[in-house]
Symmetry: C2
Subunit: 331 residues, 2 copies
């Protein structure tokens, strides 16, 4: 449920003009879908409005941005609204200068740093898309087919097509209402989740073949070297699927993906799944030891060292936490 | 919407006793989930009831059958109800003798052959699970956490976790109502969709590496030989994921999976996806030419010949239909 404050802040925003909506860097289905729904609603109200993003829209998501690859600044705004942007650093390079003049931040991340003058934060909701849906309803903004398609796409993206634990009864109620507009949700989901280039599929195969398992196969670690990415010709923006690849290996409770970047930096993604009898393994705690962060079940960090050294350090840290949680007889 | 007849047939069934519920052979999440929900509801009403299946429940789905691997006949029934069983042949060997004495068939398949005395058929609904949900509501059967979990599992399985085109607003409304019982839907979806053995993942990698593409990469064909299945140690019941594997290759409109079985028979799965500017490619039409069948977007067939010959025949038939639909300038 939205609070009175959230509803009145959103209604205040709707009274503004010359509005610039900011997406987060490395834009995904949620930030694009919910921003484009808001952009369209504002324009339909007769407002001067634009959406900007520091990074290019990946090809895979250009169906959400109405075919646009670059979202550049078109006019000097009076009002700045960020959508799905948890912190200043996520504004990206090009539009970093906007971070200290944000009037409204509309977000669903627990980790929001309250950089905006007013923050409309709802951190137990699946997605910025679902939050936007609730805000539109609170403000009596008419949902039409265009808005329905954008919001459905945003919600489906961030909930992993309703499969992640952030999916609530309300998420399904929103989807039910949006789907009534009769667009082809199946095609959207193919584009969001099932459409992978052959190069990507081959890289994923190689990654899975590299798996190393620990602690009775409950911890799985896969490693991808930059030379593989280069050889197979996989684009930088096609690497998102790798972060959750360990989720697919049956029996994995903690998944680790180690990826070497073109500049030699090592990016590590951590994922955990609840599986009886293991209580939640908080991967953000392990990430935090290396200056990273995230959520209980999904976190990330970076290291500057060799791939071998990174593998060694992260498996040591994960194993240590594992032993503390599950192997300690005095617990 | 259920018809008056469907509601009264179901209510008649609830008045019976000594009931045997029949699942289809090669049981999946939908037939197991919806049958177990009905079984439980009948027992809670004080009825003598059992569920039977000709085949073993695959390990992956034993969480739905309350840990049971074999569903054998425990008593001589007075009333036989089939759930999610489209035709007599789907009763399987062990319980084929029940096919001509079915009192009620509860089903959502367009291809239902009306073998039962009374058929409660709703062919535009996502799943037997969703149909059972509507029937329970029509009969005022109280939904509790156990029933909610079984029905959610059935619906999620058959709708591909709400991603297939059979997902309607009502499917999401059902999910919203069921999820209110607070079970862990995320874990269920991991078990249904994301839990794949390493052997399976390796087989999928090999299959994808074998891909051959035709018609400007719009047709993709992958082939799996029995020797690969044997070498990697993949179980027969772990091969379900292969049928839709071409769905993952970006740009594929028609996907063909050719699989050699242990007895040398060749099993071919066909899938199609809607993608502008191509109108629906009806794969059941191609399957029908070889004595197979299915739906517009998913069909299957068998051949008795060499793998090479099967590949040749199927690609010819698919290409011919492709040319008729899209390449004909006089169309």
């Amino acid at each position: 449920m939205l609070t009175e404050n959230q509803i009145s802040d959103f209604s205040e925003l709707l009274g503004k003009d010359n509005i610039c909506i900011v997406l987060h860097k490395s834009p995904d289905g949620d930030t694009i879908g919910s921003s484009f729904a808001l952009l369209y609603a504002l324009k339909r109200m007769g407002k001067n409005a634009q959406a900007v993003c520091s990074d290019e829209i990946p090809d895979q998501f250009m169906f959400i941005s109405d075919g646009k690859k670059n979202l550049d600044m078109l006019f000097e705004p009076d009002t700045v609204v960020s959508v799905d942007v948890a912190s200043e650093s996520l504004f990206g390079e090009k539009f970093s200068y906007l971070a200290d003049r944000v009037d409204y931040s509309i977000d669903h991340h627990f980790s929001n740093t309250f950089y905006a003058k007013k923050t409309i934060l709802y951190d137990s909701i699946s997605s910025a898309g679902e939050l936007m849906f609730e805000l539109f309803k609170s403000a009596d903004i008419e949902i039409d087919r265009y808005i329905a398609e954008k919001l459905y796409t945003a919600i489906s993206f961030d909930s992993g097509c309703f499969r992640y634990s952030n999916t609530s009864p309300d998420t399904h109620l929103a989807a039910a209402e949006l789907l009534k507009f009769g667009f082809d949700s199946s095609s959207i989901n193919v584009k969001l989740f099932d459409s992978v280039s052959l190069a990507q599929l081959k890289l994923e195969s190689e990654a899975l073949n590299s798996v190393k398992q620990y602690k009775n196969n409950k911890i799985s670690m896969v490693t991808v070297r930059y030379s593989q990415i280069e050889r197979l010709g996989v684009n930088e923006n096609e690497l998102g699927g790798l972060t959750a690849i360990t989720r697919r290996i049956a029996g994995t409770v903690v998944g680790i993906t180690v990826r070497e970047k073109s500049d030699g930096e090592i990016k590590i993604s951590l994922r955990s799944q609840q599986e009886a009898p293991f209580p939640d393994f908080d991967v953000s705690k392990v990430a935090g030891k290396f200056g990273g962060g995230g959520h209980v079940r999904a976190a990330g960090l970076s290291m500057k060292c060799s791939v071998k050294e990174a593998e060694k350090r992260i498996i040591e840290a994960v194993s240590e936490e594992w032993e503390r949680l599950y192997d300690n007889p005095c617990k």
